[in-house]
Amino acid sequence: MAPGHNSFPRNPGMALDTAMFEGHPVNRTAAARRAAQLTTRRTVKKEFQAAWLVNAIRCIDLTTLAGDDTAGRVRRLCAKARQPIASHILDGLGLDSLHTGAVCVYPTMVPHAVKALEGTNIPVASVATGFPAGLMPLNLRLEEIRWAVAQGATEIDIVITREHVLTQNWQALYDEVAAMREACGDAHLKAILATGDLQTLRNVYAASMVAMQAGSDFIKTSTGKEGVNATLPVSLTMVRALRDYGDATGHMVGFKPAGGMKTAKDAIAWQILMKEEMGNRWLQPDLFRLGASSMLGDVERQLEHHVTGRYAAAHRHALA
């Protein structure tokens, strides 16, 4: 089994079935109300909070997706992925080992990441398909996937063509994602919906469903580059879509919110969402990832406070 890969059958997808999403209403106000209540109805304290934060680290796709990424920068990120919290904190928590769910980089950074993570179980995820806008000819996008997989990426975070959603060209969207899934081979496909561009929750639901029907292993909110990235109402909508898809087909699909989540509080909030809507199974890294970079720093500070009882300083922790 490749690093990070799950113990259950992959989502094989299905034929496009627009009846599963066309006309499916998502009421914005109600979704916002539910999203707001998730964290007012549930909280975790003390040891429980620490455990949930540790779990968040297990689910983080530690990410760098910047124009100034270098081999050195990626090595540093990978070092942090291998040892996400200082050893005295790990000891204080009574844990032996801990690493992030994956690292996530641009395609040309994959070889550096693979090298830096040698000997670990940490998968390398690569964005691909003309990330972040995806407006490249399809053959080039598919070739990019193949190239990244060949370099050792075991997870591919693709972007969808937003135009297909905005024009409701579901067949084109389906065909595109299905072709990408094929190009991935054994690598897992995470479909980024760029929900900030899709705007309406109905679009989010429909795009989620098409992406899953086309065989996505994960559906993911955002590239981190849209004006609005992961939000709880959008996440709620996507999670309900993957629940509905599962209810209809029996296939399990993972969820990855990404972008804009910076705090330990966010890490808890999204886990509450998963636990409430899907149950514990979706708190495991094979079905849940947090696409984040700076979040880890805040999580580490909170964990140090838990262990020492003193409030922590970021500069005393290793940089990602």
């Binding site: 209403p25 009421n27 975790v44 304290k45 429980f48 455990a51 844990l95 309406t200």
Partner: protein, 786 residues
């Protein structure tokens, strides 16, 4: 405490108890017991009873049982303070209310924890809902105090308000009662609920903290006897009650004939309607907020789910899955959805009703609840419309689930209840949602939402859920009165009708037979008797001697005219203008008729001309007395719609036989009501002369029904009629008392006034106040955002 690695295996929430030490030590300091808050100070504790925390069964405090002496002292101190309080400028009162709002916010956590300890509701709710709404209510009403003279010119406070609040939202209900009362310049004697007096007492401390003048607010603790003593006391000027419909009826009877304005906010069995095109996940979450909020102990709880057959299986599946996620337990725990039932007595009641439901064939799906005073979230299926669980207010976390076929079916099921407090409508089709919102008999309708509250929106019921509103402009109105500008002499009692023949009449024209006017047709009196109508030279004609059965027929006819309420204001205006046109054509005849009743010619002329003007005035208002859009929460439009009440009984004063009738009937029909009117008992003929005018003016059949005869006897039948929604009565003081007492049957709205006091020829004879009486406000919350 389990280790981090153990927790990682199951990722449970774990305990997250709110720290209650500050409140607990306050309670410990006061372990000797609490007195009442009277005249700005706490009385010495006496005749103590225990207050228990329902979650633990532990006694948290001892409070005093309010005896008649305490009630008397509290009322006297409120009375003594009232003049001075009302004499303050609105701005001065606003400053006090603002300070209260501020201090409530500053003590928010204390109040939330205390409320949770006392009531058993989750800290999430007290912290996020109850206490913030309390502060919001005082802020909002600080504003009304400031604006009183501008927004309610010429209106005055009632005086001393007696207020009785329930145990389900103890502090919030206090706020809903106290804030508008004080803003208007009233002083208050409030009786806190027997089970949950603690936050009211803490509020007394806040009143002291902000330096509220002594006696302006008085708070009594005690049981129902204290409440009855308070409501029965002669020293009060207004009663406001929130609680059960059963007690509401008792209070209605207890206050009958005392000239005390009354507002009642009572029970409900509110429908929660899910259409096939609804966002089902949103609707499921709505159920959580509807019936599993405050353990279902919510008067406006959506306790009857009506779901479209087409989506019922999926909706039910989602709902049951969601219910299993609810966490029931220690209400101080921040991760708890449902806390304790307020008291073991209430728990027993819920168990009894659910047991009865099961006996009647209901099948239950339940979540889990710990031992003690807890009840699990419960869905009851297989509940027929007539069964206990479908009709009785359970006041617990129990919801029935029934299917419907069509929108019409949904409305019929929704309205198949004696109550009319609230409704929740789930559909993504704005046409459908607003159509249903209009058709449901409820004071509050939430579209794609439920249990939303705001100080700027009115809250209150239709039908047997009570009358009067709390919140918004409509709520302020309940604490103000518009005194008559001129006070006339009470009318003498009308002479009893004599049904035996033989009265001398002067036959100058062809004999005319004045019948009843029912359903647009002239009908002979069911009794088969007539009585003479006396004038200047003997009798002027015979009028039908109406009886119970004529009233019954008239009410049935009035119900058939329900299309009138849906007509546009413009249409109704046209009819009223046309009425004026046709009456004007026969002006001379009507003047002569009045003159023949010994009325001086000049006065008769004035009465007819005023009637014509009144037609015009209410025609003009028909499309202008419209509602409002309240400024409540973001992403919601809150429409305050003026709706007709329905069938209104009108018993007219004896004097001014034409103008008295017109002054009451015109505003009622201008707003879309249909009317069963009892005209002047002594001189009904100028009204029976109107039949032809009504017929020629396109007044639809059944909109105006007229039964002549003995006013009090006929009014009694109307007041007791369960299918009459409001009763206006102008007659003797005894008649007023009778009407108010009889109205308790279906808790119809009443307007009972001693005839003769109001001068219908002067400025008191028409106005917006009449239109307010003729309408009820429905607040419809519509969300937006895509």
């Amino acid at each position: 405490m389990p280790s981090v690695s153990d927790i990682l295996d199951n990722l449970d929430y774990g305990p997250a108890a709110e720290d209650a030490r500050v409140v607990e030590s306050w309670l410990a300091e006061n372990s000797a017991g609490f007195g009442h808050f009277i005249n700005g100070a706490f009385t010495a504790p006496e005749d103590l009873f225990d207050v228990e925390s329902p979650a633990t069964g532990k006694v948290i405090a001892k409070v005093s049982q309010g005896d008649p002496e305490a009630v008397k002292t509290a009322i006297e101190s409120a009375r003594a303070a009232q003049t001075g309080w009302a004499a303050l400028s609105g701005h001065e009162r606003a400053k006090y209310l603002y300070a209260i709002a501020r201090h409530v916010q500053q003590h928010a956590r204390f109040l939330a924890v205390l409320e949770t300890l006392d009531n058993g509701k989750p800290i999430r709710e007290t912290r996020d809902i109850d206490v913030p709404l309390v502060a919001r209510h005082f802020y909002h009403h600080a504003g009304w105090a400031e604006l009183l003279e501008d927004e309610f010119p010429g209106q005055q406070p009632h005086g001393v308000c007696a207020q009785i609040i329930p145990w389900n939202f103890p502090l919030l209900m206090l706020a809903w009662k106290v804030a508008p009362a004080l803003a208007a310049g009233n002083t208050v004697v409030l009786k806190a609920a027997e089970y949950t007096p603690m936050t009211a007492l803490a509020f007394g401390k806040i009143a002291q903290e902000v330096g509220l003048p002594k006696g302006v607010l008085n708070i009594l603790t005690g049981d129902g006897e204290t409440g009855a003593e308070l409501v029965g006391h002669s020293g009060i000027d207004k009663v406001a009650f929130t609680g059960s419909t059963e007690v509401g009826r008792v209070i209605r009877k207890q206050t009958a004939g005392r000239g005390i304005p009354l507002t009642l906010e009572l029970g409900g069995k509110s429908p929660f309607i899910v259409f096939a095109d609804a966002d089902l996940d949103a609707a499921v979450e709505g159920v959580v907020d509807a019936i599993w909020f405050n353990q279902g102990q919510v008067c406006c709880a959506g306790s009857r789910i009506l779901v479209a057959e087409a989506v019922a299986p999926r909706f039910t599946e989602l709902l049951k899955a969601r219910m299993q996620k609810l966490r029931v337990g220690n209400p101080l725990d921040k991760s708890i959805d449902m806390g304790a039932i307020v008291h073991p007595v209430q728990l027993d009641r819920i168990r009894d009703l659910v047991g009865k439901g099961v006996e009647e064939g209901a099948t239950l799906t339940q979540g889990t609840a710990p031992e003690g005073c807890f009840f699990p979230p419960t869905i009851a299926e297989g509940v027929e419309p007539a069964s206990t669980l479908a009709t009785e207010e359970v006041f617990g976390p129990v919801v029935t689930l029934t299917t419907f076929r069509t929108p019409e079916d949904a409305v019929a099921l929704a309205n198949s209840t004696a109550y009319g407090l609230a409704a929740s409508v789930w559909s993504e089709n704005v046409n459908l949602a607003l159509d249903i919102a209009a058709k449901v008999q409820a004071g509050v309708v939430w579209v794609n939402a439920t249990n939303l509250f705001d100080a700027a929106a009115g809250f209150g019921g239709y039908r047997e859920s009570g009358f009067g509103r709390e919140g918004g402009r409509e709520g302020m109105g309940a604490y103000l009165k518009s005194p008559l500008k001129q006070l006339g002499e009470p009318e003498p009692e009308a002479k009893a009708p004599e049904a035996a023949p033989g009265t001398q009449m002067s036959a100058t024209t062809i004999d005319r037979t004045a019948k009843m006017y029912i359903g647009g047709k002239q009908a002979r009196p069911d009794s088969g008797y007539v009585y003479p109508v006396h004038g200047s030279h003997g009798a002027k004609g015979l009028a039908g001697l109406g009886s119970r059965k004529d009233i019954r027929n008239a009410v049935e006819a009035a119900h058939k005219a329900s299309g009138w309420g849906k007509a546009t204001g413009h249409n109704r205006a046209q009819v009223l203008y046309y009425l004026a046109e046709n009456l004007s054509a026969r002006r001379t005849e009507f003047i002569e008729r009045l003159h023949s009743f010994k009325m001086p010619a000049e006065q008769a002329e004035q009465e007819v001309d005023l009637t014509l003007r009144r037609c015009f005035w209410y025609a003009a208002q028909a499309d202008k007395f419209d509602g409002a859009v309240h400024s409540t929460q973001s992403s919601y439009v809150t429409l305050a719609m003026h709706e007709p009440i329905g069938v209104v009984g009108v018993a007219c004063p004896d004097r001014l036989p034409l103008l008295g009738f017109a002054s009451l009937v015109l505003p009622a029909i201008a707003m879309g009501n249909s009317v069963v009117a009892i005209p002047s008992q002594s001189h009904p003929l100028s009204v029976t002369d109107l039949y032809q005018v009504l017929e020629t003016s396109d007044v639809p059949a059944g909109v105006v029904n007229i039964v002549t005869g003995p006013r009090d006897e006929l009014a009694k039948t109307l007041a007791a009629h369960d299918d009459v929604a409001a009763m206006w009565f102008f007659g003797t003081p005894q008649g007023c008392a009778m009407v108010e007492a009889e109205s308790a049957g279906n808790l119809k709205q009443t307007w009972a006034e001693v005839a003769g006091l109001r001068d219908f020829t002067g400025p008191d004879g028409q106005g917006r106040a009449f239109l307010q009486k003729a309408t009820q406000v429905k607040n419809i919350w519509v969300p937006y955002g895509e």
